[in-house]
């Protein structure tokens, strides 16, 4: 059977599985819709959290980023796992004990204020929409490359599937489809990783393979070889970063704290039966995540070695099929600067910007580009980092079914995260804005209907962003973390650990953290992208890491304002006492 047929079969099978689960797990009440009835087993929830968490960025992009940035890629590895320690230790059990449905629920109740609740909803919608647009790009890439359908059609199919289980099943449907999606995505990630690790080092376990010697007879370790080869080609050493230490520190911290403040992750811990289950569940989630996250650096390093060996100094006419496939998808380009018909891969940009193809072909049959060639570099190859994981099985000559599996895995990763995000957006609208703020008289049935309508509307907006991605979307996805770190995390944290934090302080803190971080990012990414260099940054911190400063501002302003205003009422102090002890979580969930 050819690879294309296998891809259709694998993707078709995984999609029917998700739809089957959606029909089986329809939600009948708002509690089922928002928190899956609150009775999900902690290990199952851990697995669902892992799928919810690992997005197209983790599955498709991360290993590629690590492959091309070496040590600098560590910010994502530590940042996107370390946040779970903060979640398990500082937030999850207490929020579960509090026991309502959404993150704004907690903020609105703890700070006895509708304004605080609405500010939290605004932060949440902002964070979730920036994040969801990135998932749609992932769906688009996978569909256009593997299923040979136009991106528009691909996004519509993907949205249709998500509509089915998110709108019908709510959190209940999402939880069980996410479990299935985790199994698909981790299998799809690990199988090629085992193969490639075995091919490169002779050790099939990627985590050990990365620390082993290359089996080309040279006796060099993988990382030694990469360092040597890259330095020969004019790159920096793989194990050395190019970012400054303060920037690495701040980006890691912003990603960690942001992870702990992301509403679609937090809300997963509302679905387990007890406060102690929330801790256990975070532990299991991190095990399931760590499986992929400790594999990714190995996949990245092996991909870089394979890429250099198959591409550099190869005649274009003899280039492997995958190279030309991705070239026809606009994600690879080659321009023959020295006219020798061979592809030179060196440091530096081959040309300015991303490739704009003229539609004509050159002497060797390559697609010609209209971009201005960069005369300062001998590099002739442009490669989009996002293709590394998807192209890896082809680069390593693995069988067709592995390629099909990776296509299904990439879709599982993007769809599971998109569904989780849609759910928090729709519940914040139906529950926090309608039920708790503007129309408290709404019935249970009406609220459930509103949640479904909101989910449908959110899917349509997300689909639109996927089909017509505004230029800034891909750029700002990573910034959802900075915004979460600067706005929601401090409010939740102080809500649990400080009895004197009041509504004035929390609102002032959230607003100033969000406004500062957003302005800094918007300035360097949208208004003055040319000024986005280290010399102009505040303390040398890039927009990716600025969320940490936003967080510090949030804490400082919140504490200062709370000292000057009235302390919170007695009921709130009692509420804090109650969420700090685990006993009685079952009761809390029923009010």
């Amino acid at each position: 059977m050819d690879t294309q047929t296998l891809i259709y079969i694998f993707v078709g099978l995984s999609f029917s599985l998700y739809i089957g689960i959606a029909i089986w797990s329809r939600a009948g009440s708002t509690k089922e819709f928002y928190v899956a009835g609150g009775g999900v087993n902690p290990v199952v929830n851990g697995m669902a959290t892992a799928a919810d968490w690992m997005s197209a960025a983790s599955f498709i992009s991360m290993a590629g980023i690590i492959a091309f940035s070496g040590y600098d890629g560590s910010v994502y590895l530590m940042g996107w796992t370390g946040g779970y320690v903060m979640l398990a230790l500082l937030l999850a059990p207490y929020l579960r004990k509090f026991g309502q449905f959404t993150v704004p629920d907690f903020i609105g109740t703890r700070y006895y204020s509708k304004t605080a609740r609405v500010v939290a909803v605004i932060c949440l919608i902002f964070i979730s929409f920036t994040y969801i647009a990135g998932q749609m790009r992932g769906v688009g890439i996978v569909f256009s490359r593997f299923l040979d359908v136009p991106i528009t059609m691909g996004v519509i199919i993907g949205m249709g599937i998500v509509f089915f289980y998110a709108v019908l099943g709510g959190m209940k449907g999402i939880t069980y489809t996410q479990v299935a999606q985790y199994c698909v995505l981790i299998f799809a990630y690990m199988v090629p990783a085992f193969f490639i690790s075995f091919l490169v080092t002779g050790n099939p376990i990627p985590q050990l393979g990365l620390g082993s010697t290359v089996n080309d007879g040279s006796g060099l370790y993988v990382l030694q070889k990469l360092d040597l080869v890259l330095q020969d080609m004019g790159f920096g050493a793989y194990t050395d970063g190019s970012k400054s230490m303060i920037d690495v520190f701040c980006i890691t911290a912003a990603l960690m704290v942001g992870t702990a403040g992301l509403p679609h992750v937090i809300v997963r811990f509302f679905t387990v039966p007890k406060a102690s289950d929330a801790r256990k569940s975070a532990g299991w989630a991190l095990i399931f995540i760590a499986l992929l996250y400790t594999t990714a650096p190995a996949v990245g390093a092996f991909a870089r070695i394979n890429f250099i060996e198959t591409v550099d100094q190869t005649e274009y006419a003899k280039a492997p099929a995958w190279f030309k496939n991705w070239e026809s998808n606009d994600l690879i380009a080659w321009t023959d600067k020295n006219g020798d018909g061979k592809m030179e891969y060196r440091s530096g940009n081959a040309f300015a910007g991303s490739p704009e193809f003229t539609g004509e072909t050159g002497a060797s049959g390559e697609r010609l580009i209209a971009n201005t060639v960069n005369p300062d570099s001998e590099n002739e190859v442009y490669v989009d980092r996002d293709i590394m994981v998807l192209a890896n099985p082809e680069i390593a000559n693995l069988p067709g079914w592995v390629i099909a599996l990776v296509a299904a895995g990439g879709l599982a990763a993007a769809l599971s995260t998109a569904a989780g995000l849609l759910l928090v957006i729709s519940s914040s609208i139906s529950h926090d804005l309608l039920k708790s703020t503007f129309r408290p008289q709404i019935t249970e049935k009406g609220e459930l209907l509103a949640a479904r309508i909101a989910a449908t509307a959110a899917i349509i907006v997300a689909g639109y962003l996927g089909i017509y991605p505004p230029g800034w979307v891909a750029q700002v996805v990573a910034f959802a973390f900075g915004l979460a770190a600067a706005s929601l995390f401090p409010a939740i944290f102080m809500g649990i650990f400080s009895k004197s934090m009041n509504k004035e302080g929390a609102i002032a803190g959230m607003v100033s953290g969000l406004v500062f971080t957003f302005s800094y990012i918007a300035y360097f990414k949208l208004i003055a992208p040319d000024a986005n260099i280290a010399a102009n940054w505040l303390f040398g911190i890039s927009p990716e890491g600025i969320g940490v400063i936003g967080m510090i501002i949030n804490f400082a302003i919140a504490i200062a304002v709370s000292k000057m205003t009235d302390s919170p009422p007695v009921e709130v102090r009692k509420l804090i006492d109650s969420i700090r002890v685990p006993r009685g979580a079952g009761d809390a969930a029923t009010h």
Binding site: Y84, V222, K274, L286
Partner: protein
């Protein structure tokens, strides 16, 4: 519209319902439980900081002179080791908290 959130629940007092203790005794029990929790949190968060920000970033250059198989040690912490320690930290906390909660009779 008033700013008071209508959904503020009655404080959940099931923690001391049915117990013979007086209010103050329960409170001192809960206080002792809470400060033991905070001490544990500080210790574990310190380890969390040391393995990631410490070994993986601040002291990476120093640690890189040692190696673990083919990994420079600092690089290993940044891309592998810190993640393993994170998993251990959460499970240790879960286990230890269960013990502390039983000791103060506050488990769920």
């Amino acid at each position: 519209m008033t700013d008071n959130d209508p959904s503020v629940p009655e404080p959940n007092d099931s923690t001391n319902a049915g117990g013979p203790e007086t209010d103050t005794e329960t409170n001192s029990n809960e206080k002792a439980y809470w400060s033991e929790n905070i001490r544990l949190l500080w210790t574990l968060m310190a380890i969390w900081f040391v393995v990631s920000f410490g070994a993986g970033i601040l002291f990476r250059d120093f640690l890189d002179q040692f190696s673990l198989g083919g990994y420079p040690l600092g690089f290993w912490f940044a891309q592998q080791g810190s993640i393993y320690v994170f998993v251990l930290l959460i499970f240790y906390y879960t286990w230890k908290m269960k013990k502390i909660e039983r000791k103060y009779d506050l488990d769920d």
